[in-house]
């Protein structure tokens, strides 16, 4: 009996491997998607804050201001005209616009009142506040330099040691001297990056590549299994199932064979996609090998069960394809395959726990991105086995061979 089951399974797999189009879809598409998403959304976490810089003065002082602000690595400064800058801020492409007025340099040195305009929208509060702090710090530095130059030259002038003709040159020179004195600063700000630990907390989100590899592996494995189960329907339609059943092979053996075929298909597809993810895309699938095996194994079982359940509930392969596609794509989106689940509203994050895909992504993210060990796979795997049991029970109850 066991041998018959295996024969049926392997025969089915051989048929499958001959369909080239299928291979392209179940292996090619997920890899392309992973690559593109990883490439598009790169390092994950945070991009730099974009700031538009409008320099109406174009003096060495305004340039100095700009280079000082540019030193802050969290910002990306872009020069532009005022109208373009305003548009960029309104359309949300820049968090803020800084407008340096004409005669900024001359007023600065003379100690006359200057107004630097700072434009932002109410929607960009978080980022614009940060930019304003950085701007404020740089302006403070420059105004101190200017004050130094002014006071010193005034002192020299009153003592008759400085001719009027030399005034502006001296001021520039002293300005620069004062500016250089900021290294090292009187109050040195030491900035230490603490090396990240292997195990990261729930705040850490997946990078584009990791998200893509986990999400699309899950999506396409599930899709292939649920749609693949239509094979049962097709054979019923074409009648080969009936023919198989007229042989001494029992109904149970035939069905088991098909189920085994699907399971093996899932294992092969998952393995190939994970290996690609690890060795081609550099995603840390290897953080907990045992955990991944346990979790994905349970997932493949649940997906196979889902496919069997659908094949029991619909009548034609075409219906199966439609229902399967909608269900799998919807479940994958709600489960957090296409984007990190942490960015959606709270109630949706809770809803994700009602579907198998939510548990898979949670377990995978904890192991791959957050470095948790095999224990992160236990609860999700148990839940998935529960789902598998439910799907198989309903499917087998309603399946008419």
């Amino acid at each position: 009996m066991m041998r018959k089951i295996f024969t049926i399974a392997l025969y089915g797999l051989k048929q499958l491997s001959r369909e080239r189009g299928v291979i392209v879809l179940i292996l090619g598409l997920p890899l392309i998607f992973t690559f593109l998403v990883g490439f598009l959304f790169g390092g994950g976490g945070e991009n730099r804050i974009k700031v538009s810089f409008v320099d109406k003065d174009k003096s060495s002082y305004s340039r100095l201001l700009r280079s000082d602000i540019e030193n802050e690595k969290a910002l990306k400064i872009e020069s532009s005209s005022q109208s373009k800058a305003v548009l960029a801020v309104k359309e949300g492409r820049s968090a803020a616009a800084i407008v340096i007025p004409e005669d900024f340099g001359t007023h600065l040195i003379k100690g006359e009142r200057i107004e630097v305009r700072f434009l932002s929208t109410p929607q960009a509060t978080t980022y614009s506040a940060a930019v304003k702090e950085i701007l404020s710090g740089s302006l403070t530095r420059l105004s101190f330099d200017a004050s130094t130059a002014r006071l010193t030259t005034r002192e020299l002038q009153t003592r008759g040691l400085l001719a009027s003709a030399e005034l502006s040159n001296e001021q520039s020179r002293i300005f620069e001297r004062a500016d250089k004195a900021w290294k090292p600063r009187p109050i040195e700000v030491n900035y230490d990056i603490l090396k990240a630990s292997q195990v990261r907390g729930k705040q850490t989100l997946a990078s584009g590549m990791a998200q893509g590899s986990m999400g699309f592996t899950m999506l396409f494995v599930m899709m292939a299994l649920v749609i693949g189960a239509r094979g049962i329907l097709e054979e019923r339609k074409v009648g080969t199932l009936g023919r198989l059943l007229t042989t001494p092979t029992s109904k149970l053996a035939v069905l088991s064979g098909k189920i085994l075929q699907l399971f093996l298909q899932g294992v092969v597809q998952t393995t190939i996609l994970i290996l690609f993810g690890r060795f081609v895309f550099g995603v840390e699938w290897g953080n907990s090998v045992a955990g991944v095996i346990i979790l994905m194994g349970a997932f493949i079982l649940a997906s196979t069960g889902l496919g069997i359940m659908f094949s029991a509930l619909v009548r034609t392969p075409a219906q199966m394809e439609a229902l399967g596609t909608i269900t799998v794509i919807s479940m994958s989106m709600l489960g957090g395959a296409w984007w990190p689940i942490e960015i959606v509203p709270r109630y949706l994050q809770i809803a994700a726990k009602l579907i198998p895909t939510g548990w898979v992504m949670d377990g995978l993210t904890n192991m791959i991105v957050r470095g948790m060990g095999v224990q992160a796979a236990i609860l999700p795997a148990l839940v998935l086995l529960g789902f598998a049991l439910l799907f198989f029970a309903v499917g087998l109850a309603f399946l008419r061979l």
Binding site: G45, F144, L156, Q203
Partner: protein
């Protein structure tokens, strides 16, 4: 002039209307996906999902005047409290959380900070940060640096000025301690003048589309492409099942039949998208814009382009199975690059340029503009581009299509 091609067209449309699977896939599915995407990514589009507050721990070993100024007047000010949350933990706990990614940064103010500053001596402030949160950590560093500049600027002013005066022998090195307090006083009064001010202005953000609107356009167009593909497939299927050859033996000439099939495809796609528009505006309250001519224009052009591409793919495929794979691949890639799945604004500039090669790239950009109540003018150039696009593919496709 025979109108047989119209009959061919209507026959195909009716077949489509009766095909429940097709209806589910091409109309129900985008509607379901728009719902999911609209509610899941809603906060991301409306900006409500702004980065969570920066979590900061401050360990004050000084407890002096200056450190209190830094903590109370700066970090706990109403303005910064909106974006920074100051937590109460000890140094090692804080460092542990930073390593785990649960805390953004730790600020340690050393002991004797205030006394050293008041005596004109130098000091330091230590910031420890999470490497995975460069922006939030950068915010903290910016604030601390700004404060350090404010406090340290006075020292630099005094030191530089003294340096100059000593070099010019106005002040002898021995006089320095006597002169310093006066200089400090002058420096302080200068600093208080604050002659450089930042004038903050708020601008009203221009109208932006919400997630439902964006994905109504994005998914609507993606499934329109699928609809067009399905229509073109019928040509192939009939070729395979030989019914096409049989049709050609009838008095209706090839051209009429082909024209009929194409018009059928065009109609099916048009109806599909129109249904999506109607449903989303009624049920999801999606605002498609105030310019009906604009919407119709871009819709027609998109359907034309989609049909052209569909014919092209049908023409270069030998079997229905090949066509299937090619279509899936083509539509998915276009959908990804053109912005149907992920918002185009979130992508790097080179992708935005590349999206101009896709049908849905042009379509989504135009639809979203119309949604902010732009006039039909914005649809003119994209519609022309799509017409040209569709024409090229169409001509190549028809030329290559072998019966």
């Amino acid at each position: 002039m025979s109108f047989k091609f119209l009959r061919v067209a209507f026959k195909d449309v009716l077949l489509f209307a009766r095909d429940r699977q097709a209806l589910i896939l091409l109309i129900a599915m985008p509607i379901i996906l728009i719902l999911i995407l609209g509610i899941a990514l809603g906060p991301v589009f409306s900006g409500a999902a702004e980065i969570s507050k920066t979590q900061l721990v401050i360990v004050d070993k000084d407890r002096g005047e200056v450190s209190h100024a830094l903590i109370d007047d700066v970090f706990k000010s109403p303005r910064l409290s909106k974006i920074i949350e100051v937590k109460n933990l000890d140094e090692s706990q804080a460092k542990d959380l930073i390593r785990k990614g649960e805390l953004t940064a730790l600020l340690v103010i050393p002991s004797e900070f205030s006394s050293r500053i008041k005596s004109g001596l130098s000091s330091h402030l230590d910031v420890y940060a999470d490497p995975n949160q460069p922006i939030r950590a950068g915010i903290v560093r910016g604030i601390v640096s700004s404060f350090a500049n404010q406090v340290g600027g006075i020292q630099i002013l005094v030191k530089t000025a003294l340096g100059e005066l000593v070099e010019r022998r106005i002040v002898t090195p021995r006089d320095v301690p006597a002169v310093t307090p006066a200089l400090i006083a002058v420096a302080r009064s200068e600093a208080e003048k604050e002659f450089v001010a930042i004038r903050e202005e708020t601008a009203a953000a221009s109208k932006r589309v919400n997630a439902f609107q964006y994905y109504a356009a994005g998914m609507g167009v993606m499934f329109l492409l699928f609809a067009a593909m399905a229509g073109a497939q019928s040509i192939l299927r009939e070729r395979e099942s030989q019914t096409l050859a049989r049709l050609f033996t009838t008095p209706t000439d090839k051209a009429s039949i082909l024209a009929g099939k194409l018009i059928g495809t065009f109609l099916i796609s048009f109806v599909q998208f129109s249904l999506v528009i109607v449903f989303t505006s009624l049920v999801y309250q999606v605002h498609w814009g105030t310019s009906l001519p604009g919407i119709v224009m871009i819709l027609a052009a998109t359907v034309f382009a989609a049909t052209g591409v569909a014919v092209f793919i049908a023409a270069i495929s030998r079997t229905v199975a090949t066509a299937n794979v090619l279509q899936q691949f083509f539509v998915m890639s276009m959908a990804l690059i053109g912005g149907s799945m992920f918002p185009i604004l979130a992508m790097p500039d080179w992708v935005k340029t590349l999206s101009k090669v896709t049908v849905n790239g042009w379509a989504i950009a135009t639809f979203t503009q119309l949604m902010t109540d732009s006039s039909y003018h914005v649809a003119v150039i994209p519609s022309l581009a799509l017409l040209g696009y569709g024409l090229i593919f169409f001509v190549i496709g028809v030329w290559r299509l072998r019966f």
